[in-house]
Structures are given as C-alpha cells and as structure tokens.
Assembly symmetry: C2
Homo-oligomer: 203 residues x 2
C-alpha cells in the first residue's frame, strides 16, 4: 500500500487511523497551499496538483472530492493561517483591516488569483462549494466589520451618520475591487484609495 493511500474517516478505520488520515489531509493541504501561492489556480487539474505535491491521484481525490473542493479548502486554510499569524487588533477599524490584508496579499499573488477564481466560480451555476464558500465568507466578513463600525462609532472614531451594513459592504467591495485593479496595473493607487475611504468615514 503506498504511503499516501486513502486513510480517512470514510474508510471506517479505528481511531488511530482517523487521526492519521486527518494529519495526512493536512499535510496535503500544506503542500497544495505552497503550489497555489506560487502558481495560482491556472491549469491545475487534480492530476497535475497531485503530481506536483507528490501524492497519488487516488489519495488526493480521497481527501478532496473535486478540484473545486480542494481550491476552497486551500484558500480557507491559507486564510486561517494568515489570520492566526497576523491577528487583527480588536480595535482595528474596518479600513485598517483591509489595508493590512492588501499589504499581506501583495506577497502571495497566487492566493489572490485563487480568491478571484473562487469568487468568479461562485457566481456561476454548478459550483456549490465555491458558492457556499464565497457567500459564507462575505457574510462573516460583513458581520465582523459591522461590529467594528459600531465600536468605532461608539468611540467617536467614525461618523455616526453612516449605516454600518452599508459601510461594511462598501469597505469589502473597495478592498476586493482595488486589489483586482492593482494586480493588473501596479500604478493603481490602491493604498491611497483605501486611505481616502478611511478619511471620508472619519468623524
């Protein structure tokens, strides 16, 4: 049996094997993140990803049911890792959070490409994993930013005459859209535009 043979919960193995399966899945995810951070999602079939990270195609499809499923899990894991390595201060403003993300993203263009690929797939029919990922992620980020807007308004750090939901959606949109424009043309004033938005929202 090859070292990377399927070994997860679906196999109905005892506890030790299940833990081993989780570890193996994590290991595959770790290597896949490196591949995507370097190359983006372009031309990456499950077969070519398996080859590049050095596992069998069977092992990869055991842990990830489809290419879309793997892309979603790679992005979520990379983001979780980024969040734990660079946690946001409790009192960071919405725009500060997005500016920090933009700075971090400049170093991992492959993951930015992967994000935009997932969001584009999410808008099309037939990509349930991407649609669920993008819908849930936007909802979670909006909810976090709404809390921060309310906190900033209560502390007198943000105008009181702006609707928190509208601000949250606007800041996310500005951040995502500026990132896209900057990726295509580095002369686009990405950080200046985010600073402008922060200034406009100041009391």
């Amino acid at each position: 049996m090859p070292d990377d043979a399927p070994d997860g919960p679906a196999a109905g193995r005892p506890r030790g094997s299940y833990a081993k399966g989780l570890a193996r899945r994590q290991e595959i995810l770790d290597r896949a993140i490196e591949v995507f951070a370097r190359r983006g999602s372009e031309g990456t079939s499950l077969r070519s990803i398996a080859q590049e990270i050095g596992v069998s195609h069977a092992a990869l499809t055991h842990y990830f049911s489809s290419r879309e499923d793997l892309l979603v899990e790679v992005y979520k894991e990379a983001e979780r890792r980024g969040d734990s390595e660079h946690p946001h201060a409790d009192d960071a403003s919405p725009v500060e959070i997005m500016t920090a993300s933009a700075r971090h993203n400049h170093g991992v263009p492959g993951l930015v490409q992967l994000y935009s690929t997932l969001v584009a797939a999410a808008l099309e029919a037939g990509h349930p994993a991407a649609t669920a990922f993008a819908t849930d992620r936007f909802a979670a980020v909006r909810a976090d930013l709404v809390e921060r807007v309310l906190r900033d308004q209560a502390a007198g750090r943000m105008r009181e005459d702006v609707d928190p939901d509208a601000v949250a959606s606007l800041v996310i949109a500005a951040s995502d859209g500026l990132q896209t424009q900057w990726m295509l043309d580095e002369s686009v004033p990405q950080s200046e535009a985010l600073e402008l938005l922060a200034r406009l929202l100041a009391p």
Copy 2:
C-alpha cells in the same frame, strides 16, 4: 459550401466577401450575446456555443480564435450596445454612472458572470486576451471617471480635497465589489452603499 462557412478577411476574398464576413461575424456575436446573457459562461465550450447558436464549429473558430477571444468580444459588444442604448449624460457623476450600470446589470446576470469570469481569468497567466481586455477596460473607465471627478470638483459638486485618481479607482472598485456581493446575496445593500459613497464625496 455551408451557409456559415468561414468568409472573413483572412480568406483574401474580394471586398464584397469581406463585408459579408464582417456581417456574419456580427450575426454570430449577436446570437452569442443572447446565449451568454441567459446562461453566463458556465460550461460553454466553443463547440457547445456553436451548437447553441446554430453555426458550425469551423465558422466559429474562423471568426474567434479561442473561447477566451469569443468571451472577450461578446462582453465588449454587449457593453458597447448598452452604452449606446443608455448613454451617460456628460455631467453624470462617477457614482451616478456606476449606480446606473448596477441597475442595468441586474437584468443581465449572465453578462455580470461573464465579466467576473473574464476579470478572474485576466489575473491568471495564460489568458492574454482576458488580461488585455481587463487592463484596458479598467484604464479607460478610470480615465473617464477622473475627467468626471475634475468636472464635478470644478462645478462644486464634489469635495476638492480628494485625489481624482484615487476617487476613480475607489468608485470602480466599490461598484464591482458590491455587484459581486449582491449577486451572491440580494440582501446586501448595494445601492445604499453606492449612495453612501456619493454622499461621502459630496462637498
């Protein structure tokens, strides 16, 4: 010879045939726009597009060198048509233009999907037509909006302490990003967020 056989400039035919080729290309584009407006770009190989619009695969590949090339031309033509049917007033502000686009786009979700697919492809290596399209389109829209910002500032309709380039990039980003969020969740306050941005930019 089938009715939709290649008949373009590359064939080196006399003038009448060239005009006929252009008309044929336009006819194919018209039908393709209907297909994409209805379905988006999901699962549309050149072969299946040819079948759906009722032309031979050979004819389609004569006029459009690749699927990516066809997608770009379909989007550009649909946008040109939208612009000529609903021209923007000379004195329309940047946010007014984006709000009008958003309203128009709600009626053609397939074209919005196509746009996001093209922009995502543009960020990846290996899609020169999409990359050129997205880079040029962003540059052209930014240039138009910068003019409008300057006009609005001169007329006292916009704050003078904002950089026109930053405003232009920010308005485009907000518009694109809000559209994406709204497509995934119609409870997202798309128009409220655009109105908020307009209000923040007012003198």
